[in-house]
Structure formats: structure tokens, C-alpha cells
């Protein structure tokens, strides 16, 4: 019997905060430059991809009650399940390292240029590790507070940036056809897909039957808010200029004023840093608990230390030294690999489980 339970509201905010913070740090630089004002279509497609993965996980989660993604993959796939589980766990770890790298790189370039990147990764890893060690209940409670903060900040920013918006800059739509925005869907799709951790959280849900409804509404709200942010930045600066910046949402807040405060981008950044903290903590929790389940350990604490000592070095990994490789990694490798794991492997597990169930029913 799983003791730590999370409510629908807490699950909603974990997913919402993950979508918002992952989009804030990872998607804009890829999407705004390449897809421009049609990016809303990419975001819609990305959301649909995520809803598809969520439906599969929901079916599996209900079928294998009180079991996590790692546990039922073992049961469904047998030996192959162990291999798939290792791939999942490496993917989770890779996703943490990538988002940590992007996070440290962004903070170091935009926020505190003189502070070494490793300082950000050390501090964030300590916080996320502390939270992961305390368990999902703690992360879920914090996500409720931080989720509300992100929502409120977003609404305030939308209101304060309204005078600078020029709707005309959002047109013409689909100037180059549907292809760029359709292909662009891999960026939000792959990052949203990290919410495959839903498979790790579902056994903790107090009301698992409502998981899909809650998850879909959280993804829709998260992607809607972030699409608005991205469209706001294009409508304020124009697609060409917005595409030049690494993070146009950050620049948008730099332009806006709030009452007497002229430079509110720092506050926005702090809010999204807290979002990243929740996302990294949830991923950290999923990877450590998943590994403990794979190796049948009684607690996941030891894995918090082991993975923590790897994640700390995210900003100094070899790929991060060369900007060409980084560009390649973030534009092609990560999205395709992520999508094939999130969508591909999950579909495979779902199909095998479906076949097994129908064979069992017939016999």
C-alpha cells in the first residue's frame, strides 16, 4: 500500500508547473526563430502529442493499479521490460541534465554573468535532492503554492504588457504553409512529453480515475499560458526581433513596467526558477524511485545521492562546451530521441499490454 498520496489539485499543479517552466526555459529559442507567429499551431500539436501519451499511461495506470511505470513495464514486457526501464531511467536522467544545463546556461548569461554555472547546478541539485528525498507529498504541496504564483504572475504580466502589443505583428498566419509549424511541434511535444513521469506519479493519486481529466486540463492550461507568452513577445517585438533573442519572454518582461517597478524580469525569472525547481525535483524523484524499484531497494535515498552527484556536473559536461553540438543536440537529437521514448516506447508497452489482456480475456 502506497502511503504518500497526492490529490488531483496537487497533480494538476505539478503538471502545470512542469509545462510552464519547461516551455519557458527550453522551447522559445527553438520555436520562435523557426516557426514565428505560427508557433501556436506547434504548441497545439505538442499538446495533442502529450494528451495521446497521457491517455496510454492512464489506461496502463488503471490496469496496473498501485504500480509505477517501471513496475508494470517489468510485468508486461518481461526481460525486455528491464531494458526499456533502463532506457526510461536514462532518459529521465538525461532530461534532468539537459534542463539543468539550459537552466544554468540561461541564468549565467542573463541573470548573474559573473557567477560560475556550477554554483547554480549545485544549489538547485541540493534543493531538488532535498525535496526528492522528502517524497512526492512535499513536492506536491510546494507545487500548489508555486503553481498559483506562476498563474498570478502570468496574469499580471499579460495585463502590464498589453499596451505594447501590436496584433498586426501576429499576421500573416501560415505564410510558409503548415509544414514549418507541424515540424516545429517536436519541440513543445518532446518537452511536454517529459510529463511521462505521470506514470511514476499515478500510483500516488488519491483518485486515479480522474488522472486523465486533470492531466489534460493542466497541459492545456500550461500550454495556453505559455503560447500566450510567446505570442505576446512576437506581438510586442515582431517575429524577426523576437527570433534573435535566446528567450523572448524574458525580453518581453524587460520592456514591460509594473506600477513603479521598471525591471520586473528578475521577478519573472525567480518565479520560473521556482517552477524549474518543482520540475527538476519531480524528475529527480521519479528517476530515484524508479531506479530503486528496478533494483528492488527499500528506499530511494541512496539514489538521490548517486544521481545528485552526477546532476551537479550538468553544466560542465563535454557537449556543453561546443555551441554547435549544443544547437544540434537541442534542435534534433533531444526532440527526436525524447519523442521516440515518450511516444514510441509507451505505445509499445501499451500495445503489448492490450494484446496480453485480449488473449487473457479470450482464454
Amino acid at each position: 500500500m502506497i502511503k504518500n498520496k497526492i490529490s488531483n489539485g496537487q497533480f494538476f499543479f505539478i503538471i502545470f508547473v512542469a509545462i510552464a517552466s519547461l516551455t519557458f526555459f527550453s522551447v522559445p529559442s527553438q520555436l520562435v526563430g523557426k516557426v514565428k507567429q505560427d508557433l501556436w499551431f506547434s504548441m497545439v500539436l505538442g499538446t495533442l502529442i502529450d494528451v495521446y501519451v497521457a491517455s496510454l499511461l492512464y489506461w496502463l495506470g488503471l490496469k496496473y493499479r498501485e504500480q509505477s511505470l517501471i513496475q508494470y513495464t517489468n510485468e508486461i514486457m518481461g526481460f525486455l521490460g528491464r531494458v526499456i526501464n533502463v532506457i526510461y531511467l536514462i532518459f529521465f536522467l538525461g532530461a534532468i541534465i539537459t534542463s539543468m544545463w539550459i537552466f544554468c546556461d540561461f541564468l549565467s548569461r542573463s541573470f548573474m554573468p559573473e557567477t560560475p554555472r556550477i554554483v547554480f547546478s549545485i544549489t538547485m541539485t541540493i534543493c531538488a535532492g532535498f525535496a526528492a528525498g522528502k517524497g512526492i507529498e512535499t513536492i506536491a504541496r510546494l507545487s500548489q503554492i508555486i503553481g498559483v504564483l506562476i498563474l498570478l504572475t502570468s496574469l499580471i504580466l499579460f495585463a502590464s504588457a498589453l499596451p505594447y502589443v501590436h496584433i498586426g505583428l501576429l499576421f500573416p498566419q501560415f505564410e510558409n504553409g503548415f509544414l514549418p509549424s507541424t515540424l516545429g511541434a517536436i519541440y513543445p511535444g518532446s518537452w511536454f512529453g517529459i510529463c511521462v513521469i505521470m506514470g511514476m506519479l499515478m500510483p500516488h493519486m488519491k483518485a486515479p480515475k480522474k488522472t486523465l481529466k486533470v492531466k489534460v486540463s493542466a497541459v492545456i492550461l500550461g500550454s495556453f499560458i505559455m503560447t500566450l507568452f510567446l505570442l505576446y513577445s512576437i506581438a510586442t517585438m515582431g517575429s524577426n526581433m523576437a527570433g534573435q533573442f535566446e528567450n523572448p519572454i524574458y525580453i518581453l518582461t524587460r520592456i514591460s513596467h509594473f506600477i513603479i517597478f521598471e525591471r520586473i524580469e528578475v521577478l519573472l525569472l525567480l518565479i520560473f526558477i521556482s517552477g524549474s525547481f518543482i520540475t527538476i525535483s519531480t524528475l529527480f524523484y521519479s528517476v530515484t524511485v524508479g531506479t530503486a524499484q528496478l533494483f528492488k531497494n527499500r528506499t530511494h535515498t541512496i539514489w538521490v545521492y548517486i544521481f545528485g552527484s552526477i546532476i551537479i556536473f550538468s553544466p560542465v559536461f563535454p557537449y556543453s562546451q561546443n555551441s554547435y553540438i549544443v544547437e544540434e543536440y537541442l534542435s534534433h537529437w533531444f526532440p527526436y530521441v525524447a519523442l521516440s521514448i515518450e511516444g514510441g516506447l509507451t505505445t509499445l508497452i501499451f500495445l503489448v499490454a492490450l494484446i496480453k489482456t485480449s488473449v487473457k480475456n479470450k482464454s
Binding site: 541573470f111 544549489t123 507529498e137 512535499t138 528578475v266 526558477i273 521556482s274
Partner: protein
């Protein structure tokens, strides 16, 4: 177990020896019955009410016992004395010394009759207590002015007279191997969560300590996360506060010998409420409650934010404000961190000094503090006036937190935040808040999450925590 043999001399010698020939053990010899049977009445001075001893035991024994023809070990004689002669509220018959000694040291008087192997113990407890007074730690502008005293019975009566209901339950425990302190658990039967009640009961039963001299001992021993800086048990001197708490379904613990009662469970938001909220009109009470919430964050974050923003993110400050701050800081020899720490520590010193000083000198301390530090140090250019403003603002904010222990915790954590801000600016403060948030989300008070009703979110309770709900809406809801 050693049984009483019925000889007066042996009984007296044994008790005298057990109490180490203590000089406050007093006795009075008398003769009862028509056959003048010797009897001995024993008590411990200072613990009994002498008037009760005279009127309820000695006088009836000596005058009323004449009707007994022959005093012997017949049960009817003992029953007659204990049920018809002695007029105290409680009388019990004791046969062993082991049960006699605790009664004696609890203020009971014992009657021993020659030749009878049963002793009669009568409750003549009468400790001198302070009269009911306005509590010094929490004063109110509007609301009842009575506070708890050092007597547990008086304290229980102060709560009972507010909640006159048959569902109020009082459970007594005696804790302390040496002190045998009486502790009462109070709750309302169908309102308090049975799991909470049994958890508190179990924790009290598991206490193994020499003595309980104050409720802080109990607080330390039963609180969740004992290593946490945050109070998870609420302590109060006000009976109306405890009455309100048990009406909400919480459990109160009253300890003999101290005016401070404990209430469980206690969340962060319980510590930011006061009973006075209930006595003021709802808009004012809500406004004051919000001021307290803001005060909580200002106490924790104002000096750290000042330091962090000025050191790392001066661009956030509007230019005119920034130029005023910088010109005020011109010529100050200390770095910002040192200046802030110095001022905060000075203030903490002044606060401590003024608490320990007699009231008449306390004002002198504040004059010295305000004049010497506030005025002279700024004029001399040793510290800047914005720092004084920040420290003063933080101090005022810290006084808005009603709980002394929460206020002390936040004041301590403020220094951690200052250090973090000096290393990493606002990012450092965020890291501090994350760590604090994780800690607060993970601790509980007897099963209730510390950040409830916000994390986990419980809408109705959250509404009541944020707003002092007007009574008329509650009446409508009940209908």
C-alpha cells in the same frame, strides 16, 4: 507492598522515615469514640487547607465520634467515620503505605486509628495560588481579561465555564518520575479527531522524564520533528484561546504549575491568528490578519532583499530611489553585508536587553538605542540611514507576529537569508525559500501538514485562514 498493621507508633515512624524526617510533616493526636481510642491525623504543611482540615476532619472526629461505643476494626466503624463524620469532598480508605505516601504529598490528610488496619485519607488540598489576572504575554484591547494561573484545577474551570457542554472531556495524566506533575488533556468528544486524541494520549503516555516544571518540557517531548526550528505546538496563556481551539476540534494540554497551556495540532497559520481576531469586526480583523501575513514575510525577507537587490540587481530599483540610497551610503566604511548584520545584531541585543530590564529602565534602553544608534551613528557616517530604516521596518514587522516562538524562529532564519543573499543575491533568497518550503511542507503537527490549509489546499479552511469570516454568514450556512 507493605500493609498497615494498625499500630500508631509503627505507622508514624514508617511514614516519617519514608519522608526523610521532613520537617513539614505534621500530625495531631486525638482520642475518638466513647472508649477514647487513640488516633493520629497526618498531613504535609503548606499543601493543605488548614481550615478544611479543622472543620472537615478534626472537629467532626473529636465531637461526632462520641456516638461510637467501641472503636474496633469492624467495617461499620470505618465506614461511619469516612462516610458520615468526615465532610471533605473526597475520602478513600487505604490499606498500604505505598498508596498512602503519594496522597500525603498531594495535599491529602490521613487519619490513622489505633488497632484498625485501614487508614482514611481525605482530600484537603489547598495550595496558595495567584489570583486570576490579565496574561502578561498577550494583552488584548477587546476581549476577556482573565488568564491562566499556576493551578491546573482553576485553569480547567476557566475553560469549562466557557464551554458548558457535556461533550467536553478531561483526561488526567501524571508525568514525571520525581515530580508527579498532573497534566490534563481537554477536548470536545465529537469534534476532535479520534486519531489526534489517541496520538496525543500515546505521546503523553510515552514520556519518561524526572520532572515537568513547565509546559515547554511537554512541548519538546511530544512535538513532531523535534529538530525543527518551527513550533508545532501552540502555547497560550488565554483560556478563551484554548476554548476556541477545543471548539475547533483541537486538543489542549494543561500542565499543573504553569499558566501556559498547549494546543495541538498547530499549523503555521494557527500561529499567525490571534483570539482577538474573533472579537473585532470582520473587515478590521481580516485587515489585521493580512498585516500579520505581510509582517511575517517582511521579517524574513526585507533585510535580505535590500542586501540582495542593492548588491546584485540594482537595476530593479527605480533610478531616483537608487540614487537616494547610494548617496545616503556615501562615506559609510562598512560593506553592505557587514552594515546590515551589525544593525540587525544591535537590534537583537537591544530587544533582549529591554526584555530583561525592569519596566522603568526599559524605556531608557529604547532612548539610548534610538538616539545613540539611530541618530548619532548615522550622523557620524558609520552607518547609513536606509539601513536604519530597513532594520526598524523589520523590527516593527517582527512584532506583528503573535507567536513568540514563531517570531524568534523567523528572526533567526532572517540571518540565514541575509547570508544567502550576500552570496547569491535574489537567487540565494530563492534557494533559501526553496529549502524552507521543503522543510515546512514535510513537517506535520500530530498528522496535520504544517502548511495546511494551503498546501495541501482545503478551500473552506483556507478561506477561514485568510479572512475572518463574519458570524452572520456562518449562521446562514448552518441553516
Amino acid at each position: 507492598m507493605r500493609n498497615f498493621t494498625g499500630t500508631l507508633k509503627a505507622a508514624f515512624e514508617y511514614i516519617d522515615q519514608e519522608l526523610g524526617h521532613s520537617s513539614d510533616l505534621s500530625f495531631r493526636q486525638c482520642q475518638i469514640g466513647s472508649d477514647n481510642t487513640p488516633a493520629l491525623i497526618m498531613w504535609v504543611d503548606g499543601l493543605i487547607n488548614k481550615q478544611s482540615l479543622n472543620n472537615d476532619i478534626i472537629s467532626p472526629l473529636m465531637s461526632g465520634s462520641r456516638s461510637i461505643n467501641r472503636v474496633d476494626s469492624d467495617e461499620t466503624t470505618i465506614n461511619f467515620i469516612s462516610h458520615s463524620l468526615i465532610t471533605t469532598t473526597e475520602v478513600i480508605q487505604v490499606t498500604s503505605y505505598e498508596s498512602l505516601i503519594p496522597l500525603l504529598i498531594n495535599g491529602w490528610s490521613v487519619v490513622i486509628i489505633e488497632g484498625i488496619d485501614i487508614m482514611i485519607a481525605a482530600n484537603t488540598q489547598g495550595l496558595e495560588t495567584r489570583s486570576i489576572d490579565e496574561p502578561a504575554s498577550t494583552s488584548v484591547i477587546r476581549g476577556p481579561r482573565d488568564g491562566f494561573v499556576e493551578s491546573i484545577d482553576t485553569n480547567i474551570s476557566l475553560i469549562r465555564r466557557r464551554v458548558k457542554n457535556k461533550l467536553v472531556r478531561v483526561e488526567n495524566h501524571w508525568i514525571g518520575n520525581m515530580s508527579h506533575t498532573k497534566i490534563a488533556m481537554m477536548y470536545i468528544f465529537d469534534r476532535a479527531n479520534p486519531d489526534t486524541v489517541s496520538e496525543v494520549r500515546t505521546r503523553l503516555d510515552h514520556i519518561d522524564i524526572d520532572a515537568i516544571l513547565e509546559s515547554q518540557y511537554i512541548e519538546d517531548l511530544i512535538k513532531d520533528s523535534p529538530s525543527s526550528f518551527f513550533p508545532t505546538v501552540y502555547s497560550t496563556e488565554r483560556p478563551d484561546d484554548v476554548a476556541g481551539a477545543i471548539l475547533e476540534g483541537r486538543v489542549a494540554i494543561i500542565v499543573d504549575g504553569t499558566p501556559f497551556a498547549l494546543v495541538l495540532p498547530c499549523t503555521l497559520f494557527h500561529l499567525l491568528k490571534t483570539t482577538e481576531d474573533l472579537y473585532l469586526s470582520y473587515p478590521i480583523a481580516t485587515f489585521i490578519r493580512w498585516i500579520r501575513f505581510i509582517g511575517f514575510f517582511i521579517t524574513l525577507l526585507l533585510p535580505a532583499s535590500y542586501l540582495g537587490v542593492l548588491t546584485y540587481h540594482p537595476e530593479m530599483v527605480p533610478p531616483q530611489l537608487l540614487s537616494s540610497i547610494l548617496s545616503a551610503r556615501d562615506g559609510v566604511p562598512f560593506p553592505l553585508l557587514m552594515e546590515t548584520l551589525l544593525m540587525e545584531l544591535t537590534f537583537e541585543g537591544l530587544r533582549e536587553a529591554s526584555i530583561r530590564m525592569p519596566k522603568s529602565i526599559g524605556s531608557a534602553i529604547s532612548i539610548v538605542g534610538a538616539l545613540v544608534i539611530g541618530e548619532s551613528a548615522v550622523k557620524a557616517g558609520i552607518i547609513s540611514s536606509p539601513s536604519v530604516i530597513i532594520v526598524a521596518g523589520t523590527a516593527i514587522a517582527s512584532f506583528t507576529i503573535p507567536s513568540i516562538s514563531l517570531s524568534a524562529t523567523i528572526r533567526l532564519l532572517r540571518f540565514v537569508m541575509i547570508i544567502l543573499a550576500s552570496f547569491l543575491g535574489l537567487y540565494g533568497i530563492m534557494i533559501g525559500l526553496f529549502l524552507l518550503g521543503i522543510h515546512l511542507s514535510s513537517i506535520k503537527s500530530v498528522g496535520m501538514p504544517y502548511l495546511a490549509p494551503f498546501a495541501p489546499f482545503r478551500p473552506k479552511e483556507a478561506e477561514r485562514a485568510l479572512v475572518r469570516v463574519p458570524w452572520f454568514t456562518l449562521r446562514k450556512r448552518q441553516k
